[in-house]
Symmetry: C3
Subunit: 316 residues, 3 copies
Amino acid sequence: MLRGLAQVMFLDSTWTGAVFALALLTADWRYGAYGLGGAVLGTGTAWLLGVSRDRVEGGLEGFNSCLAAIGLAVFLEAGRPATALLAAAVCVVVTVVTAAVVRLLGTWSLPPLTMPYCLLASAVTVAAPALRRLWPHGGGIAALPRAAGGPTTLRLGDVCGAFFRNVSQVFFLDEWYAGALLLAGVFLAGRAAGLVACAGSATGVLTAWALGAPAARIADGTMGCNAVLVAMALCGVFLAATPATLLYALLGAATATLLTPAVAALLAPSGGHAFTWPFVLTTLGFLTAARSFPRMTGPKPGVIGPKPGVIGPPPA
Amino acid sequence: MLRGLAQVMFLDSTWTGAVFALALLTADWRYGAYGLGGAVLGTGTAWLLGVSRDRVEGGLEGFNSCLAAIGLAVFLEAGRPATALLAAAVCVVVTVVTAAVVRLLGTWSLPPLTMPYCLLASAVTVAAPALRRLWPHGGGIAALPRAAGGPTTLRLGDVCGAFFRNVSQVFFLDEWYAGALLLAGVFLAGRAAGLVACAGSATGVLTAWALGAPAARIADGTMGCNAVLVAMALCGVFLAATPATLLYALLGAATATLLTPAVAALLAPSGGHAFTWPFVLTTLGFLTAARSFPRMTGPKPGVIGPKPGVIGPPPA
Amino acid sequence: MLRGLAQVMFLDSTWTGAVFALALLTADWRYGAYGLGGAVLGTGTAWLLGVSRDRVEGGLEGFNSCLAAIGLAVFLEAGRPATALLAAAVCVVVTVVTAAVVRLLGTWSLPPLTMPYCLLASAVTVAAPALRRLWPHGGGIAALPRAAGGPTTLRLGDVCGAFFRNVSQVFFLDEWYAGALLLAGVFLAGRAAGLVACAGSATGVLTAWALGAPAARIADGTMGCNAVLVAMALCGVFLAATPATLLYALLGAATATLLTPAVAALLAPSGGHAFTWPFVLTTLGFLTAARSFPRMTGPKPGVIGPKPGVIGPPPA
């Protein structure tokens, strides 16, 4: 169960999962309950449906349902029974969607990443305003995207806050110390993974500043949270950690940062959120491309794989 | 030609097609003319282009053009010559799109379902307001999705109406007796298919009510029509009809009901309609996933197929 | 480098590339600089990353970055240093996206066409208003699509202008003589290619008029520029030039013309542009479908290929 939490950041470690759970509970105990409950339900459903044992035990069937449950808690009010019931149902469906995405992307030996969660969380949040039981207070959230407002000058406090909130926003948490705790959990699983996560977060802040994003958007971590995940995925998880892949991963992190307002603008008129779509799209693109670049995939072009045993394996 | 109509609901029976044609003509003779003409044009074009004979004779090249023609008749005024000419042209293009979708989805041994029709009907209705010959009266239909309005309490009349209109809305028909006639046509092809259709329609009504959809949306069949198609596709057509697949199919039917307002909200700002996108997306997802669930695909995992001869075969 | 420019219209000729560069420089020297710089940067990055030599030398790694650079110059003001820097970064990322698209579409032996450019240009233009450094003047461009306004009657001047501007708009150029120069470049590479381009442009004008598009939209070439590319791709480039494929290509050109306002309406609420998405979607669909139509692919169904040596080969 805790491995499911750790797999949100590609880590196959029970201890890291425990630290992640602590970070969730510190920020808001209800998010912790949704997250743990989601991981349990997703893993349980996969086990019931007879999904292969290594996926279930590695926590690979828990992280999408964990994120989906937290996402619904954040956007549909965690305290309402209707939200809890819907989150439970969505965790079951996430397992089906995960199996579908694993098989579809398997054609190109690509991992599902958090796409199953993004698909379902997007569908539910977009549909919610049309459904009174999910959205009792009325009033839509759909709006045409507007031009950026507010100052773009970053102060030191903004930069430090952004650095940690880029990590915490992966779990929708606004507290910088939750991000620090999550980062500690990553370092617990491996020093290389932690350093890459830091580099990704820094790239996210730098790119967002260079592009002229409003300081408020940078400081709250919404511009850079995808950069952290992309950097980790491309350097150490799905590609071996080398100087070349580090550069490649940071290019990916910058691309994901640019994609973040793009996805937000595409979904805003329907009332949708970006979730981790920028991470999913960038990572899938860069991973697919890597096989055409001999420098990225090492002596044997075409073989993509993590250093065995260090960080979670790519789903088969 | 009549098989093309029957294939809208996966049925390979000339008699069922005749009953479906009767239902269309009862509701509005022009919709009947568009539907039959569309099925003829689509099948004829496929034959001219040299598509394989079993697809043409099984009616698998007629149902998408049939639906596309009816869809244009409903959204662009059936009585205008421009609409009839455009519908004829679209029926020709549907055949090309069908061949493309068959080949693309063939990579995963997935059927095209009604995706070709959804693609073209969406394109035409979204483009129409920019084209004066198709949309002479002016005025756009694009709008930001709004929060649900109106009461959510269902009366008995709403429930019964919804049960039949969930079937009739597959052909864009509002009349409950057209739905009853269509359902009779399904029972004519096989009792199991009819019962599954009924279970799908009931699941659609129940899910929409549980989610708090406005009663008016449930009663007119727009919330539940995808549920009927999903249930039939997943229990008896593309997966063998067993207790396990029935449960799976009803989970799919509930998912499609949730997806219906999501797709509507995604397309509303562009002026698009949901058509049967929720059915297509849900069924493709659940079919792909089924191969990872040994309980769904029987003793030989990985083999998806209908009971031979009972209900229409999956397009090769 | 010049081959990269020529490959925008599938031509593998240095001389044609030189004429294309002249057309760009005639219209606006800055667009010429962006286009040439983009082709150089894209080709250089591909070479650095170790992409296979025949792709780099054939100019197949230069045309997407060329178009992306011009696209950014047009939509984000060519004269600003931020635009130039961003265009350079995007040209690097285009190479990665090209490698990804080549591999993904390779499953169906489909060419990437201009999809990499469309993906990145769409992402950047949609994201730009949220980023102050890219969009300093404020004010969004997102809007709900509106019904067509203005007269639909075409005068002779409109028709002639549209015929040439359908070609020039491929490079975002409004000047009819730029289109005439580009067309001359196409004839330079081969008479058949030039005639097909003319037929495609004429089909675009005719279809747009028949659908009732506003005369202003037809005359400025935005309705028909995709038709030119589709016609060339389907008759002579990826399918052999025969009477049957010419008809098929013109059906594709008409379809792309209908898709143009559809894509525009889909992206308008997010502030996006159609770019050459209609060409990409139509061509990929029609190419995939062609393998199911023995009349299109000649005696050996399933084999798609150009007449060797006449027009640029499909990317491997």
